[in-house]
């Protein structure tokens, strides 16, 4: 295991190669096109024994993976933004059929205002029944892809996984990355042998059927939800096992310098790296700041998050997407997690990185100062804070 300088796209492709994939289908889309190019090249060179199917659109991509997964294939694709939008309809069918498909999403805004990086694409399908894991850097992208198959294919789960890594910031940024050896991945990830899928003519099973609303439908949906709940345990176990092999352990959430912290930032994705640097510097100056990274957004790890933030006075969420006219996704989840507790910390919510606006150290320091000042004056900031908003102080735009 040696360190290589790899872009997020190359890192993900190399990770997928180690997972004994049967079938890949993908479309070009900025900023993740190099993933499918690289995988196509691996297949062309004979370095990867898989089928690469060139599709005629993202809708067909997810449909092809659906068919292949029913036929017993381990499958992969990568997309983002509008590509994910075009895929939306078949995306909802995959969890219903309990197909453990893994997809990398290089987060890019939904809608055509820009095509930099935010989470509005994956957040638009957060209720689809896919597990969603947001990663901080290219190494975690590699580790999460490999773990994703083990989580998805676990018989307690059998749900698809989206590995969400910020477009541009990670997909095109080169970082030193370790790709686990084939032997290590082979010992970690058993071959895909689904018991619940068969096209045997003697059994003649039907997939994707309709069920009677009064008899089964709600009960099926309840079962999907229970599988999602069980996924919390599986994500933790798989992360620990992977950690014992590589020294890199990932769980549902990752607390960073939270001990005795007065203020805790709650982040997801690539901004976490910058935020950790700021937290370290503020700690050095004597400010009691900490951070919790939410890695698994679906299932949302309420208990693990609560354990990490319950001692703090202030919790500040940083959402990279907007729910227009409502509360943003991460803020909503954290608010719902904190609310039942009587001595809950004060919660403030910020938009950071929306539409690809850079989340710099300076902007984060400003956010920390602003929220601490408000707290010291015994008040909270009621509206959302727009980090790095042009033309005024952060929260004055509301």
């Amino acid at each position: 295991m040696t360190l290589k300088l790899l872009s997020g796209n190359d890192a993900v492709s190399n990770a997928v190669k180690t997972c004994k994939i049967d079938l890949i289908s993908a479309m070009p889309i900025t900023p993740v096109s190099p993933i499918s190019e690289k995988l196509a090249q691996f297949v062309a060179d004979g370095d990867l024994d898989a089928r690469f199917i060139e599709a005629d659109g993202e809708h067909s991509v997810m449909s092809i993976l659906t068919g292949a997964s029913i036929a017993g294939c381990r499958t992969f694709t990568a997309t983002c933004g509008t590509g994910l939008g075009f895929m939306c309809n078949p995306i909802y069918n995959v969890p219903v059929m309990r197909l453990p498909i893994v997809m990398a999403v290089g987060n890019r805004p939904q809608g055509l205002l820009d095509f930099l990086s935010d989470h509005s694409d994956t957040m638009s399908v957060r209720d689809s029944g896919w597990i969603q894991m947001y990663v901080e850097n290219n190494q975690e992208a590699v580790d999460t892809v490999i773990q994703a198959y083990k989580i998805a294919e676990d018989k307690r789960v059998l749900l698809p996984v989206m590995m969400c890594f910020d477009g541009w910031y990670l997909s095109y940024l080169s970082e030193p990355v370790t790709i686990p050896s084939q032997e290590m991945v082979d010992s970690f990830l058993p071959p895909f042998k689904p018991d619940h899928l068969s096209l045997d003519p003697e059994k003649h099973l039907a997939y994707g059927y309709q069920v009677n609303a009064e008899n089964y439908n709600m009960e099926f949906r309840c079962k999907f939800n229970q599988a999602m709940e069980r996924a919390k345990t599986v994500i933790t176990e798989v992360g620990a096992e992977y950690g014992s092999l590589t020294g890199r352990t990932h769980g549902l959430v990752e607390p960073f310098m939270t001990e005795d912290a007065e203020l805790i930032l709650v982040t997801m994705g690539s901004m976490t790296g910058t935020a950790k640097q700021v937290v370290k510097e503020e700690r050095a100056k004597g400010k009691a700041i900490g951070l919790v990274k939410v890695r698994s957004f679906r299932p949302f790890p309420g208990e693990a998050l609560m354990d990490s933030v319950k001692e703090a006075s202030i919790v500040v969420t940083l959402d990279r997407s907007i729910s227009f006219g409502g509360n943003p996704p991460l803020y909503s989840e954290v608010a719902a997690t904190l609310f039942p507790s009587e001595d809950r910390p004060t919660l403030m919510g910020a938009y950071a990185g929306v539409g690809g606006r850079d989340v710099t150290e300076e902007r984060l320091r400003e956010l920390i100062t602003q929220t601490l000042e408000a707290y010291e004056k015994k008040r909270t900031i009621k509206g959302r804070i727009w980090v790095g908003f042009n033309g005024g102080e952060n929260n004055k735009v509301i």
């Binding site: 060139e54 005629d56 092809i64 499958t75």
Partner: protein, 299 residues
Amino acid sequence: MSKQVEKEMRGELVAEGGPLCPGCGASLALQFALNTLGKNTVLLTTPGCVCMGTLTFDLHTLVKVPQIFTLFENPAAPATGVKAGLDRAGTEMNVLCFMGDGGTVDLGLGGVTGVAERGDPVIYICYDNEAYMNTGNQRSSSTPYGALTMTTPVGKNLKGKSRFKKDMPGIMASSGAAYVATASIAYIDDYVQKVRRAEEVTANDEGMAYIHVQAPCPTGWRFQTKDTIKVARLAVQSGLWPLYEIYSDEFKLTRRPKERVPVREYLNTQGRFRHLSDEQKDLIQAHTENRWRKIDESR
């Protein structure tokens, strides 16, 4: 059905008592396709009459083969995945998409031509009942000129559909399908032979096989349920529904009406054409003559 074709059948794979309408043309097309291919077949269907008729509620199905219910707008792409997955496992099975005209000619067109272009060895049968019948008879781009549907009504300003239907078999041939054919449930021997041919072509890995079969619909077309075969036969005899196949770039008529009957005889069997003016009927006749002129010139 001839004795020869009867021998070709590989079982009764569609159970009786399904919820399809009496006199349903699509139901016949499904039965003969499945019984010809046999149970070593994966069936894919989309929302539509046949899907509702084969995948019934409460975890029971009428069809005795493995079955996948796909989305309306992706009738074909899942078949690519299924075929690739079966290949990888070393399993030889027919993969049959049995879809209506709405899913094929409108919503799923991109995906259907994608399978043809990639050359995936999948059998695709489009049962063309010439409208969105399961939702109650709304216009599709396969609805013929002049037909009354719920969205091409007859009123002061509109007299049924104002456009002719898409040439779907032509689209498939030019998209790279290895085998393309039209068929009719009134000519079962011809249909069964074409299904068999589609099986051979896909088994030989030559590419996609596409069959476009007319499926008269008593409910939507407004004729008596006993007349389904008569209507289908008149479509062929009038020249409105030519029976042909295209293989290796070669166009071949599989049945030429000795003498074409006027299209009026076909149109008059159905309530959906009742409002047509003489001018409109003449236009359909002229369109048909023109089509046959092209067919004859190309031979």
